[in-house]
């Protein structure tokens, strides 16, 4: 390999340089800004994670698997996965191999920023070697891989259903500019490299094309214009990138280390939240996943549109979208980059100005405290039913019956009235009020001296688990606790409940990751059948407290759709582990709907 030009320069690299410098500058400044926006605690966490071997390794792994291979997309749809990984991984390999090539053959040119990108223009092949042939082969191979991805991308524009997507977003004008320039980059590269292949060398793709062009065109007048076109396309793509959905490519490279550092959303629009907004690829997978989008309703209230409107600073739409959401978390479960839809919305709600600020710090809880107060004992159980279970008394009755059957020493924390756990008001973004309630309830729990706190409502369970910090007290959902009783032999099930389908409540499943415990209990209670979509793909019952504005009349379709999903295997009984899901389903179901506690209580020997 020898240099074709002593200067190692041609004016056509200028557009590329402009684009590259612009996009790099933009991303570096952006990343620094986002990092500076983190609060002191998060900054410390972030920098510590960058030097901790465990998180370094996790970052590398996640970056490779998510940004290049797109494993989550593969799981969703093979074609969609191939399309994305062929473009991302193929392009990455082209860049990497280009640089290695440059290192191997033209080490003195490595300092030139553009040289590896336009390597084939600047070099001439003076000898045939096996090593060279392998390089050329790999370069052509990965170019072919990328091109196959581009072909699929074009097909996807027309027939997205082939890729497992029913609905998607409409690209904006700039998105289209970015998209079309991205599509053009690789065919132009193929053309440019083909035109130069008789000088620079090539492989199975570029050499035959070179010969074909020579036969048809006879001259080499096309060489320079195609290299120019290739460079201009790169420039256009890089210059529009920060203002399009393709911003997700650099943003995700920051989001992954942020997430692996254990950061949470602290501010609605800054730091971690902003990294999430920019990481959204606008793919629209969340549209199909959203339970509200049934019958083509509320499509514009999905997470992708939240991100879009945050980028556009459309405050009115941000408010509408944030308030309507049920916070079921399914968008997060399907999201390729892991944008946390519910947390993002709660954060938006939290920066709202309310006319009235309630104050719960003065509430008198002495009577409740007195009713449960006792000497500390590890074996003692404190049962908190919560408002939702109070409205479904069959559940608390079943719980008390189970406690008695298993000989558990228990106290009923809110038998005669109690305070709210704080989760609904936390969901409304009113953190101070939630803290006041947490503080009050903590006093009661501490006074009870119990070693275990049992909750029959997943809404309560989530906040008790995540925000109460009850040192020395086990916080358990009743599904976990019943499983413990069954395993310990304190509760014996007769298995006669017939066929049961289990509905995963959002707050318990996606919210707390509890999927297996209730199933293990139910397998001993009856014959467990599964719903069509279950576990982290379960469909919200529609009754969620998460939504502040979705009207009752709008929820019926959601509930019926969720019921349809549950009953595909024609179970005798629908069992759930959330009082709110239970009462929501019971409204429209033509099969009996029970809480798992009722089922277990009925079928205990």
């Amino acid at each position: 390999m020898i240099d074709r030009f002593a200067s190692g320069f041609d004016p056509f690299v200028i557009p590329f340089l402009i684009g590259m410098i612009f996009v790099l500058g933009y991303c570096i400044i952006g990343a620094i800004r986002l990092i500076l926006q983190l609060d002191a605690e998060d900054k410390k966490k972030f920098f510590l994670s960058l030097i901790t071997p465990k998180t370094i390794w996790k970052n590398i792994k996640d970056l490779f698997l998510n940004c290049l291979i797109h494993v989550k997309l593969w799981k969703r749809n093979k074609l969609l996965g191939y399309m994305h990984s062929s473009i991302a991984f193929g392009w990455f390999m082209l860049i990497l191999l280009g640089h290695i090539e440059c290192f191997v053959y033209m080490p003195h040119r490595v300092k030139l920023f553009y040289y590896p990108i336009f390597f084939n223009y600047f070099v001439a092949e003076n000898e045939y070697t096996l090593r060279g042939a392998i390089f050329f082969f790999l370069m052509d191979f990965f170019l072919l891989v990328v091109l196959s991805g581009i072909v699929l991308a074009i097909i996807k524009r027309v027939r997205s259903r082939l890729f497992g997507m029913r609905r998607t977003t409409r690209p904006t004008l700039l998105d289209r500019v970015g998209l079309y320039s991205l599509w053009m980059i690789f065919p132009l590269r193929l053309l440019a490299e083909s035109f130069t292949a008789h000088i620079s060398g090539g492989s199975f793709l570029t050499i035959p094309m070179n010969m074909m062009f020579k036969a048809f065109l006879g001259d080499q007048m096309n060489m320079l214009p195609t290299w120019w076109a290739y460079s201009i396309c790169l420039c256009i793509f890089m210059c529009v990138l920060p203002f399009t959905r393709y911003m997700h490519i650099p943003a995700e490279m920051l989001l992954i280390p942020f997430r692996n550092a254990g950061l949470t959303i602290k501010h609605a629009r800054r730091g971690f939240a902003k990294a999430q907004v920019y990481s959204c690829p606008n793919c629209g997978v969340c549209i199909d996943a959203c339970p509200m989008s049934i019958k083509k309703a509320n499509i514009k209230d999905t997470t992708v549109y939240l991100n879009r409107n945050i980028r556009r600073r459309n405050e009115q739409r941000i408010e509408e979208i944030s308030d309507k959401c049920l916070l079921c978390g399914k968008c997060t479960a399907v999201c390729q980059v892991g944008v946390d839809g519910p947390q993002m919305r709660i954060a938006q709600r939290s920066i709202r100005n309310y006319g009235l600020d309630q104050d719960y710090s003065g509430m008198d809880i002495s009577a409740i405290k007195e009713s449960v107060a006792s000497e500390p004992s590890k074996d003692k159980v404190l049962y908190f039913a919560g408002c939702m279970t109070q409205l479904t008394p069959a559940i608390s009755r079943a719980m008390e019956s189970i406690f008695r059957k298993a000989g558990v020493d228990y106290a009923f924390m809110d038998k005669d009235g109690g305070l709210c756990c704080g989760r609904p008001i936390l969901m409304a973004g009113r953190f101070d009020q939630a803290r006041q309630l947490i503080h009050k309830n903590k006093e009661v729990i501490k006074a009870s001296g119990a070693g275990t706190l049992v909750l029959s409502c997943p809404i309560c369970y989530k906040i008790f688990r995540e925000h109460y910090k009850l040192e020395g007290i086990r916080v358990m959902h009743h599904t976990e606790y019943m499983l413990e009783l069954v395993r310990a032999g304190r509760l014996k099930l007769d298995g006669g409940a017939g066929s049961i389908v289990y509905h995963d409540p959002c707050e318990l499943g996606r919210g707390c990751g509890i999927y297996e415990q209730p199933r293990e209990v139910l397998r001993q209670t009856g014959e467990l059948v599964e719903a069509e979509a279950n576990r982290d793909m379960a469909i919200c019952c529609g009754g969620s407290l998460g939504s502040l504005t979705l009207g009752f009349d709008k929820r019926e379709d959601l509930t019926r759709n969720a019921l349809h999903n549950l009953t595909v295997n024609d179970p005798d009984t629908i069992v759930t582990a959330c009082p709110l899901c239970k009462s929501t389903f019971a409204r429209y179901a033509d099969k009996p709907v029970e809480d798992i506690a009722e089922t277990v209580d009925k079928h205990t020997k």
Binding site: L391, T392, P393, D416
Partner: protein, 339 residues
């Protein structure tokens, strides 16, 4: 021999329509799914506003329609539309060709256990309006018999005007029924405190307002405006009602020995099926759809198919009877026009 007329439902509407059609010279065929005539009224004890015994009303009507063809414990299996009318097959094997069908299919009492927060079927001391009438009639109910009843509560609008219960309609008769039952309970338990938890009192009918005044002035029934939010049970088996007294703006918690839920009126679920056989759809309120809701409430868009009584919405007995008489005339006019 005049034309055949099939009346589906042997409640007040069906019976009164049959009575009028007999007077007009027809011999209607009346099918009733239960083993007795009178529908829900047959289960009631006394009727407002004059405390007429319900049994007497049913008995009088039954007496007057004995010439009609009455099939008890019989349902409509299917209806085929024919050129000149309908071919109706009953579950007892009888097959009838008729020119007119009257759907007097009545209502279902709302299943109070669906409002789980009120604890019907869960707590011992919770009953419905129908259970209470049953006790008035038989004196047999373990929730009352032999119990020391000191405090009684009535919850209005259980399954009525409640979007979450799937019924937004007012059931019309429960306000006055609750007042009637409250006064009757007060008579039986003079020392007991009786509470009515209501959101509105809709006392539109003849002498209803008098009833209400009497309940307050003479019987001393306490009326508390506010919806009951939840009901719990204490160790003594009493029920604790949580509500808000919206007139004083304060939350209230009242411990009761007996809680009576005023279950509302919803469309008869089986009637929906029968109606679909003759292409009578369901209106947006959940009841059978009339041709229009002003002048043709007893007629449908299906030729020769008529409606009467609570099949088209909640009604009092006098309203139902008036509709039944009107429908008899409408059927007569229809049959004359067909000749």
């Amino acid at each position: 021999m005049k034309d055949n007329i099939v009346i589906v439902g042997g409640g007040i509407a069906g019976m009164e329509a049959a009575r009028q059609l007999l007077l007009l010279g027809y011999k209607p065929i009346l099918v009733e799914k239960s083993d007795h005539l009178g529908g829900h009224v047959a289960d009631w004890h006394c009727l407002f506003p004059d405390m007429t015994p319900a049994q007497q009303v049913v008995k009088d009507l039954t007496e007057q329609i004995k010439d009609a063809n009455i099939f008890l414990e019989t349902e409509v299996s299917f209806i085929n539309k024919m050129k000149m009318g309908y071919n109706v097959m009953f579950s007892n094997g009888v097959n009838v060709i008729c020119k007119a069908i009257l759907l007097a299919t009545g209502f279902d009492l709302f299943d109070a256990s669906k409002k789980e927060e009120y604890g019907y079927g869960i707590y011992d001391q919770v009953m419905t309006n129908k259970d209470l009438e049953h006790w008035f009639n038989t004196g047999d109910d373990k929730r009352i018999t032999g119990k020391d009843i000191k405090k009684i509560g009535f919850v209005h609008c259980v399954g009525s005007r409640d979007v979450k219960a799937g019924n937004q309609q007012c059931s019309k008769v429960c306000c006055i029924t609750a007042i009637k039952q409250a006064m009757e309970m007060k008579e039986r338990f003079p020392d007991a405190e009786v509470y009515c938890f209501y959101m509105d009192l809709r006392l539109f009918g003849k002498k209803y307002e008098d009833f209400y005044i009497k309940a307050q002035m003479e019987s001393g029934v306490h009326f508390i405006r506010g919806r009951v939010s939840e009901v719990s049970e204490n160790l003594q088996g009493q029920v604790i009602v949580k509500t808000e007294d919206t007139l004083s703006g304060k939350p209230a918690k009242i411990t009761l020995d007996l809680l009576v839920l005023m279950a509302g009126i919803v469309c008869n679920r089986e009637a929906v099926q029968t109606a679909s056989m003759v292409q009578v759809p369901i209106d947006s309120d959940g009841f059978l759809k009339s041709r229009d809701n002003i002048l043709n409430i007893i007629e449908t868009d299906s030729k020769g198919v008529f409606l009467a009584g609570t099949a088209t919405g909640a009604k009092t007995i006098p309203e139902t009877a008036a509709e039944a008489r009107a429908v008899a005339l409408a059927i007569h006019n229809y049959l004359v026009s067909q000749q």
